[in-house]
Subunit: 603 residues, 2 copies
């Protein structure tokens, strides 16, 4: 039986056909892979997800992680999962062979993580953050730290975290106060961190924290922040472990993702917490942000996976639940007839198509970002690497935000498909609804992603990334124009891109006058508009690939599969893309209401 | 200290000024009331809400209603609340003096219920359904049933329910199977009902169920449904109570509104359940729908109240939480300066203004509906009563749906204002987010309301209700045109109404060709568009009233209060109303994708 949380055929189509993983695999770094071997790997991940992740999805919600006697109790599957994920190479997949990794392309790992997240979004974060922490050590720390931590992290014996947020600072990293004082070859660390995902849990042998902190007297702001490795347990020369004065003060109880602990940590309350500097002083945030891009795309990927799982759940309910009747030509219902399945009601089809286009569009978006990552690292031509790097820069905040925001909307539609049952704990939709809501907050809220998109990425290097993105979209439009069927949609997309370009020009005038608050005031609206357009672009590419499949002798997929993809594109262009007309209007407004003083606005 | 869940000044302004309760109170039925006495009544309801509702809001979520030993345990405050609500006349407020009521206008009770629902949405439903059940008995049952049940329901000693939904039928009431068999002067009832709010709970002395059922051999469809009073306990001539074979099979565990029990009831499992016919046979659904309109507006009111409470919570957080800094003219942040309060960030102001315009717009909408109710019953001129009746018909599904759908969106924005804390159980926003999600499902889902709006209300009597609504909006536009400041917004609203009118004309062509499925396929999109426009209309009226206040010697409210209302209107017209441009485009589409066979659409 197919997994109830995944459409494996669509994942394969997007990965291998639309985003052409095969062409990425021709880079020398990936010489040991071909599409068949990646497909086999993904099959093993799907089996793993069926066996080790999905069965625990509901019970991790029902029995949340919780703080007790100075420790956080988590579901016993957490430790088992981490070890198995380590054994399968899911933590080290991206790393060089020399670092114990598999030199796998990001696109392949993205698909693998997506499958796991669709199966049970409460577990993969434990491995994902271990990967992220290990990646920071690998890239920026010295060999001694690498040798000490990487092998045990690769196997999942030790896990890792990213410690950024502090109670008084929240999203404002400039205000981090955790302090590092030199002492011998290491540093004394003291301070508190909150919202640390997977921060600590009962039975963890060791947790390797990557901690942002300041030297006393470091310059204020983000330029005075350094990065440290601070293990829960220090490692002796003989490999023995000694507690490192990292205390767990609590676990944040949450509305969703309850199985994934969210800790409050205190470093050095007893004056005995040691950290080791990673790279150079004051470069901590720079290092962290190198990894943060990956973390942001990973958040989008998780949200995309939940949206897909919720879509599959709604679809299967709609196919089985009889209720009501269709209207006959007199506008009445024949009450003597059998009830019809709810999937036959147009409004239910509309909700399911909305879920489908958002879920699959989001998946396509995160695969695109992963492709940009791979090519920015491995393309043989330096100019192309730079081009992909710039594309990656502008697509990252969108790949984080669209799946999170629209994924929430799509899961809400999915809950609605079930009517009253959707709200009931016996059905899974309400869990997806609660779980996915955090994704608009993780790793920089939607507001912060939007400031990054408009304030940094659109303007970077005189607009190079924005121009490259428009070029990519224009290339797809040109290609689609060759098809009679696709041409009207290509034209519609072209119009929307042009209109948004006009709005960007109008906003940039504020920036050039030095009115940056006004320039960025509607950044979130800009994000919603550009995200909608980007996913429209990706749907045009999907439809083009499907049409190629229909027109060629290609029998990789069923003909109805191709036709459904084209129909879904048409749905998106009919129901979703028109939203950008109003959003572009909003961006052109000259009111500036949100710049006024709060006392003029709020009672 | 002002209640943390309410903006009493805005409630008063909308009730007494914008919707002019005073003019309704001139009707003879309400001769014992004047604005002052209603204001005093509302003050007592606010005190009651502070003391008896709000303190239990969080704990009713933390300790949900639950099924145990054949009974449902609810928070002890449920019974206390019902009795006190009864004592205050909150259950019988609308009824005639002769029926033990207060002959209060619906507008006043709407405000009173709104205050309670903002304080704690888990409790007022127990009283609200008792009111609804009593109203059905008062309107349609014989005197014997009235005398038996009404006095004890008015006092809250006994509560009431509406029993419609059955497991196999869901929203499709045609398929109700609960059976009634004549036996002496009553009927034997047998069948099951699900999703019965307040259906039964530990310690309830009696629960009076209003049950839809069929006689054996009754015609199929909705025309064969009759209405029965079926008490939990039968009342002997001496007033003694005997169990009436109504068993509680379970309580639906839910994502939100956990303190409000949602029961599964079995009638007549032992063959000893008696019911009494209300009114005539086969007229049950007709009776039920007379009350259903009120119930639907009540759902919108509850959602509007939660949106308001959530707005107040976000606003007060944003005023207290320092984080980040404003940009200086070089586009940088001065890291040496103190952090600023988050309410100073434009994106936070945007989210708060969105919450404000949705919450206050929703309140204005439910007050409008209540005003229509009052005038359709009490206006001395019969033609005017009919006019208000028709306006009530078309506004009801909108008053149910806009606050539910957009209220959810606004609470989600409210959660986002708090960042990570918004997702945490220690903060109230996540509870509002979970609680409000049911309102799009209660009393007919958004899809069903939308079919009602476009399929019945817009087309009824050759479009009379639609024309009357457009006339009302046009009157407001004309009035606003007298003001330089309001004129551009009036013009914008006029354009949107005209464009939507064009879309309606285009849709009606399908209906006139007998293609009703196609006519109604995008009913939900139509609902979203019309709801947005209607609330835009109400904001124009609010702004006009505020401008009148500014221009006159009226000192009922502060000048900043009036200015804030005008600013909120401008925000709505800048950020919300433009959405209708895209929605109208969607309504004009000729694709008909959602009419296709599911197998052509879904993988």
């Amino acid at each position: 039986m197919a997994a109830p949380y995944l459409d494996a055929e669509t994942l394969n189509f997007l990965l291998f056909d639309v985003h052409d993983l095969g062409s990425v695999l021709t880079q020398p770094r990936y010489q040991d892979y071909d599409p068949e071997s990646v497909a086999l790997f993904l099959k093993s991940v799907a089996d793993f997800s069926d066996q080790e992740l999905h069965p625990y999805f509901r019970e991790m919600d029902a029995s949340p992680a919780h703080f007790r006697d100075g420790e956080i109790a988590v579901h016993p599957q957490v430790r088992k999962y981490l070890r198995k994920a380590g054994e399968m190479g899911l933590i080290s997949a991206l790393f060089d062979y020399d670092d114990g990794g598999l030199q796998m392309p990001n696109m392949a790992l993205t698909a693998a993580a997506y499958i796991q997240e669709a199966a049970n979004n409460h577990l993969p974060g434990y491995a994902g953050l271990t990967l992220g922490a290990a990646e920071l050590i690998l890239h920026f720390a010295d060999d001694a730290l690498k040798d000490l931590y990487i092998p045990k992290m690769n196997t999942g014996e030790w896990s890792g975290t990213m410690c950024l947020t502090e109670p008084q600072a929240g999203s404002s990293l400039s205000d981090i106060e955790t302090e590092a004082t030199p002492e011998g070859g290491h540093y004394k660390i003291s301070g508190q961190k909150i919202f640390i995902s997977g921060g600590d849990y009962q039975g963890a042998e060791n947790v390797v924290h990557l901690v942002l902190a300041r030297f006393k007297g470091a310059p204020p702001g983000t330029g005075g922040i350094s990065l440290f490795v601070v293990p829960k347990n220090r490692v002796g020369e003989d490999g023995s472990l000694t507690p490192n004065d990292v205390a767990t003060l609590g676990d944040f109880e949450k509305m969703g993702q309850k199985g994934y602990c969210t800790t409050h940590l205190a470093f050095g309350d007893k004056g005995d917490c040691r950290g080791w500097l990673v790279g150079e002083p004051h470069r901590g945030l720079h290092y962290m942000f190198k990894m943060m891009n990956g973390a942001r795309i990973a958040v989008g990927r998780g949200a995309a996976a939940i949206a897909m799982a919720a879509y599959q759940a709604s679809l299967s309910y709609a196919r089985e639940r009889p209720q009501g009747r269709s209207l006959n030509p007199s506008g009445k219902k024949d009450v003597y007839s059998e009830q019809t399945l709810i999937i036959n009601h147009p409004d239910v089809k509309r909700m399911l198509l909305l879920q489908k286009t958002i879920a699959e569009g989001s998946l396509s978006l995160v695969l695109l970002a992963a492709r940009y990552q791979d090519l920015s690292l491995t393309h043989p031509d330096e100019a192309e690497r730079l081009r992909y790097h710039n594309l990656l820069e502008i697509i990252t905040p969108i790949a984080k935000t669209y799946p999170s925001e629209m994924g929430s909307a799509s899961v809400s539609n999915g809950l609605q498909v079930l009517g009253g049952y959707g709200f009931c704990s016996d059905f899974v939709l309400q869990q997806y609804y609660r779980d996915i809501r955090i994704f608009s907050i993780y790793e920089g809220t939607t507001g912060i992603q939007s400031l990054d998109l408009l304030g940094r990425k659109v303007t970077m290097e005189k607009g190079i990334a924005w121009r490259l993105l428009v070029e990519e979209i224009t290339r797809s439009i040109k290609a689609a124009e060759a098809s009679d069927r696709l041409r009207p949609y290509a034209a519609q997309l072209g119009n929307r891109v042009e209109a948004l370009g006009g709005a960007v020009g109008s906003l940039l005038k504020f920036a050039s006058k030095g009115d940056f608050e006004r320039f960025l005031a509607d950044a979130t609206v800009f994000m919603e508009c550009l995200g909608n357009i980007v996913v429209g672009w990706l749907w045009l590419d999907i439809a083009r690939e499907a049409e190629d499949g229909l027109n060629s002798a290609n029998t990789d997929y069923r003909e109805t599969f191709y036709r459904q993809k084209i129909r879904a594109m048409q749905f998106y262009y009919t129901y979703e893309l028109p939203k950008t007309i109003g959003l572009t209007e909003v961006l052109l407004n000259q009111e500036g209401i949100t710049l006024e003083s709060p006392t003029d606005l709020f009672g």
